[in-house]
């Protein structure tokens, strides 16, 4: 009898023992949900309303980190300004850097824009390269694979389910990408400027040339001199599109658009940053739609 109750309890606890997965940003959270489905509880730490470099380290995040079985970060220095002290104060051995429940996705991504030399004289440059790789839909399979392997490693019990979900997701995603790439072909002659180099992975993928940034240096607020130079350059090169994110000030882009007749395209940098971007598909569709228009 005792044995039966015990094994029953064990069975029940296994049935309901979802693993808690914290992701720093929402795009990873959505991918985890597609692979983990009912076996995972996903918590996104950094709201896509905010600048991913400047997530407010609210103490409530400590409670979330405290109970996580797996922490998935973007890496490449994107979380350096907010996550390390939280991680140290969350008192959770499972998700410390180096532990089994810590996953840095940037370790799987071929990083672009890796600076030859690094100095803060060049602004807030990331020594590891441009960390905004998740704006490119072709990175999704790489991210998904890394997440799959990690989920299987920390939750062996449900490994076959993860494999199955992954296969389904990847198949869907390949179909989606084929269609997406065809649509993007019409767009390859576009010329753009950006606020911050958030979309380089996307632009490189589809041969869209980015001619400059509204911020003079990464993390440095626009100056009038730099803005005037940018306007002149845009007029000379015939650039008609300004890529704006949701969290930087919008006045500079509006001013530039006014002077050059260019269009301001507001893009989501992460899932849910704009209204029509709360699924993976709609997130990338919105980026494409806004750029190509």
């Amino acid at each position: 009898m005792k044995k039966i109750i015990l094994s029953l309890m064990l069975g029940v606890s296994v049935l309901f023992a979802n693993i808690n997965v914290d992701t720093t940003y929402s795009t990873f959270g959505a991918i985890v949900k597609r692979i983990g489905t009912e076996h995972v509880n996903v918590t996104v730490l950094g709201s896509s309303k905010y600048d991913p470099h400047f997530i407010v380290p609210k103490p409530s995040l400590l409670a979330k980190l405290r109970r996580a079985d797996l922490l998935i970060i973007n890496g490449g220095g994107l979380e350096i300004g907010w996550l390390p002290p939280l991680l140290r104060s969350a008192n959770n051995a499972k998700i410390q850097n180096g532990a089994k429940g810590f996953l840095d996705i940037s370790h799987f991504i071929p990083m672009i824009d890796v600076p030859v030399s690094v100095s803060r004289a060049f602004g807030d440059v990331h020594a590891q390269g441009n960390p905004h790789y998740s704006t490119d839909p072709h990175q999704v399979p790489i991210i998904a694979k890394a997440i799959l392997n990690k989920l299987k490693q920390i939750d062996t019990h449900n490994a076959s389910d993860y494999d199955k979900n992954y296969q389904i997701f990847i198949k869907e995603w390949q179909t989606y990408l084929t269609l997406f790439d065809t649509k993007m072909q019409e767009c390859s002659t576009k010329k753009v400027v950006q606020y911050h180099e958030l979309f380089n992975y996307f632009l490189n993928r589809y041969n869209i040339k980015s001619y400059g940034n509204i911020e003079p240096l990464p993390g440095v607020a626009p100056s009038s001199r730099h803005t005037i130079e940018l306007i002149r350059m845009m007029q000379k090169e015939g650039i008609r599109t300004v890529l704006q994110d949701v969290y930087h000030e919008k006045k500079s882009a509006a001013f530039i658009a006014d002077k050059t007749g260019a269009r301001v395209a507001t893009l989501p940098h992460d899932l849910g940053a704009l209204k029509e971007s709360d699924t993976l598909e709609s997130f990338y569709n919105t980026i494409a739609k806004q750029i190509c228009h």
């Binding site: 409530s60 907010w82 959770n92 000030e249």
Partner: protein, 403 residues
Amino acid sequence: MTKIIPLSMLFTLSLMADATLESIQKELETQKQKTATLESQVKALSSASTNQSASFSQNAYLPDIAFILDMSAVTRDVNNSAYNKYAIPGFMDSTDTEILFNPNRGFNLNYAEVALHSTVNPYFDAFAVFHLQNNVFEIEEAYVITRALPMGLRVKAGKFRSNFGRLNKKHHHSWHFDSQALIYEALFGPDSLKDPGLQLQWIAPTDTYLMLGLEVMQGNNAQSFGYSENANLLVTYLKSSIDIGENISMLGGVSYAKGKNASANQTDIYGIDFTLRNQFDSYSSLIWQSEYLQREKHLDTSTDKQDGFYSELIYEYNNNYSGGVRYDSITKNETDLSAYSGVDTDNLNRYTVMFEYKPFEMSRLRLSYTYDRSKIISDERRSINEVMLSLNIAAGAHSAHDY
């Protein structure tokens, strides 16, 4: 390579012209497999690279190093020699005065600080902050914290700033004002509450953040403790935080410190703190932070009962500009004030207003005005006016943004 394979396949085919279709297909399969093996070998060889690093080089293991500088230009309507012997009646006499920050009108180089952090091994992180001033080298903090304890526990050991209240843990460079909160200076002196000791913190496994901390410390703090025959200080606190929506967050705490003072009697300090933060967007916020501290210091024949608070409101307009106001007050001062007979010692308080400009992260220019009614200068209650321009930079390793 790609040419050789089809050629060789053709060759094979012609040789076996009369062979059955089946055997050809079999041969093709084998060839394909061979090609795949060769291709993967080529790939593996071309992506591996030889080790080019200098033998015995350990550069990759260097700790994170940050270098923090703080300096100021001050105008004040009190002479330096008089100001450097100020008293806060009931808390510090003119002979106790030790001014760490901005002692002089004119120019001050407050400190050059070196902060180090490194993960020691899978079990410990180590931190050290070396506070350097003219002719002073101080180990401000040097401690290890655990990385691998179970059940939401963490131990800190070494010399560290106590997590009592809200402000005590924070270093000067992350304060919103250049001067220390009055009640902190009055109760703990310019060094705040920091000592060699042990700290244990536990976070409850709940949706709401709930943290319980316990510290055993040497209790060197001369202002409130200072009994030197053994470790005498016990600090405990409970902190919790809730969010309202995505933008509003609150952090509150209650703290208690109990120790022996220099007269070998007990001192009790109670603290309550509350912070409310409203985030308008990534770079703009309004922060209201207040703390109230109360002390009962038992002496041989009497008991000092004192309390006070500060309340500050900070508005960050964007990542370049912010401003704030703070009010400090000593609200109770029941102690032996006979040394100040004939001097008005009531309503010790201070008003501070500041305006900040950060051209970029890691550097900060701050202009502040202080109207200070908390000090006795040359046996006289004085209202001090002070205008200060301070510069703080933090170079090197990226220090995280503060809550």
